[in-house]
């Protein structure tokens, strides 16, 4: 009944026409087409490894149907790092703070942190923890991740104030 459906969307700034099935998630669509920087973790909307930006807003791609994204714009971590200044700063801070171990959660973590900071996120550890609560990490114990996001948040605040 589902068959193959055609979908037009923009991925990392590039217009793509792709084929998918009605039951395919955005996560499946992306990985089936080589966007392996989007990680497949729990597939239940819990772990946040599959977080991408959909029309500029952070979402979990495993609980979104691919067909929902027809005509919309998706950005994965590869389409942000090196292109978006904030993302690059977060990536650098993650490296400097040792906030990366196995790296599996990192794309989702960086996108979630970027979403927080783009929406007036403050340099407040409690707020950062809340904002990142939808992203799980089994290596770092979170402290270093929080430190990295806090550092960028504090820099942004001092840039605005100073």
């Amino acid at each position: 009944m589902s068959g193959t459906l055609q979908i037009s969307l923009k991925i990392n700034g590039e217009s793509r026409v792709l084929h998918t099935a009605a039951h395919s998630s955005l996560l499946n669509l992306l990985r089936d087409n080589g966007y392996f920087d989007v990680k497949c973790g729990c597939e239940q909307g819990d772990c946040g490894a599959c977080t991408v930006l959909l029309d500029g807003i952070a979402v979990k791609s495993c609980v979104i149907l691919a067909m929902n994204c027809d005509g919309h714009e998706v950005r994965t971590i590869k389409g942000l790092g090196g292109h978006d200044r904030l993302t690059s700063r977060l990536q650098k801070a993650f490296v400097e703070h040792g906030a990366i171990q196995c790296g599996f959660c990192t794309p989702g973590m960086i996108i979630a942190a970027g979403d927080y900071l783009r929406h007036d996120g403050r340099a407040d550890r409690e707020q950062i923890r809340r904002a990142m609560s939808g992203n799980l990490c089994r290596c770092t114990g979170y402290q270093k991740i929080i430190d990295a996001v806090y550092e960028v948040a504090a820099e942004l605040e001092s840039e605005v104030c100073g």
């Binding site: 589902s2 597939e43 239940q44 979403d115 904002a131 609560s133 939808g134």
Partner: protein, 304 residues
């Protein structure tokens, strides 16, 4: 668990007008409405919803996306008007609205206590309500604020009070051809206040138990009170009799203690994977006490 793709095979429908959506509901069988999808897709993956022939995505219906103050009487608003929420308004879209934050702080708090940002960016309040979980966070304060739902089909519209919408876990008042098209929160009068309290492992988790209270104050008397609780019954529970019995009474610590004991005695919670019935019953009276005090203070009242 661990399904790679959705188990069910279904056709994807994306109507662009409400009329088209209502026609689909009237004509086709086994249609599931998809608003945000954060509950629906998960339940389809886990197989707790079976037999879906059509998934109807309503996000393309522009007229259903709003969250704003409105003074039209047809949405079930009162003299003061209402804050109206369309079925595709996301949880974050609602929580970030200035009017909602100012007039319905307990509603905002409940929404922000739900899941993670990236889920709230997608999930909707209409979906949370139609999913009809006994623990639905957004439903608890909405019941207290007196929310009215507009259900529409090709046969017409009807307005149902939120507390009358739920029938049991996953079961609602919606007929097969109907859809929830509006949630109206009546603007509260002056001298009123509300509270929302949720007990969970960590804040964004699903609640072990939750409580909402709305109080309208007349000097030192309670003019009107509405208490609702989550995760203590097969549906989001409006504690009707006890709430209504408070009208006209003098607010004081004795009344608070007495009410808390009455609620505790009336509840028949169950044990499940989040906590057991003993905890739910024991903590319920504490929540009611805290909630009544907080709502009273938020209504501008003092407690001796």
């Amino acid at each position: 668990m661990g399904s790679r793709i959705l188990l069910s095979d279904f056709a994807y429908l994306a109507p662009t007008t409400l009329a088209e959506a209502l026609q689909i509901l009237a004509e086709k069988q086994a249609v599931k409405i998809l608003a945000g999808g954060t509950d629906l897709l998960l339940r389809m993956k886990l197989g707790t919803i079976s037999h879906v022939d059509y998934v109807m995505d309503i996000k393309h219906i522009k007229e259903l996306n709003y969250a704003c103050l409105c003074d039209e009487k047809q949405c079930g608003s009162t003299a003061n008007g209402a804050f109206c929420i369309g079925p595709t308004a996301t949880l974050n879209q609602i929580a970030k609205n200035g009017d909602l934050s100012r007039l319905f702080p307990a509603q905002r708090e409940a929404i922000l206590a739900m899941a993670a940002t990236s889920v709230r960016n997608r999930g909707t309040m209409a979906g949370n309500i139609c999913n009809a979980s006994p623990v639905a966070d957004s439903a608890i304060p909405a019941i207290c604020y007196g929310a009215a739902l507009t259900l529409q089909s090709r046969r017409g519209k009807r307005i149902v009070a939120l507390e009358d919408f739920f029938r049991g876990p996953g079961e609602t008042e919606l007929e097969k051809d109907e859809m929830l098209v509006n949630i109206a929160l009546p603007v509260p009068p002056a001298d009123s206040g509300a509270a929302f309290i949720k007990k969970s492992r960590v804040k964004p988790d699903i609640a072990k138990i939750s409580l909402g209270v709305f109080i309208e104050r007349d000097g030192t008397l309670i003019k009107r009170c509405r208490i609702a609780m989550g995760s203590v019954a097969p549906l989001p529970l409006y504690v009707q009799k006890i709430s209504e019995g408070l009208a006209g009474l003098e607010m004081n610590e004795q009344l608070i203690a007495k009410t808390a004991q009455m609620v505790k005695a009336a509840l028949k919670p169950i044990s499940d994977l989040r906590t057991n019935q003993e905890y739910r019953r024991a903590i319920s009276s504490v929540l009611v006490e805290e909630g009544l005090r907080l709502a009273w203070r938020n209504a501008g009242g003092e407690l001796k």
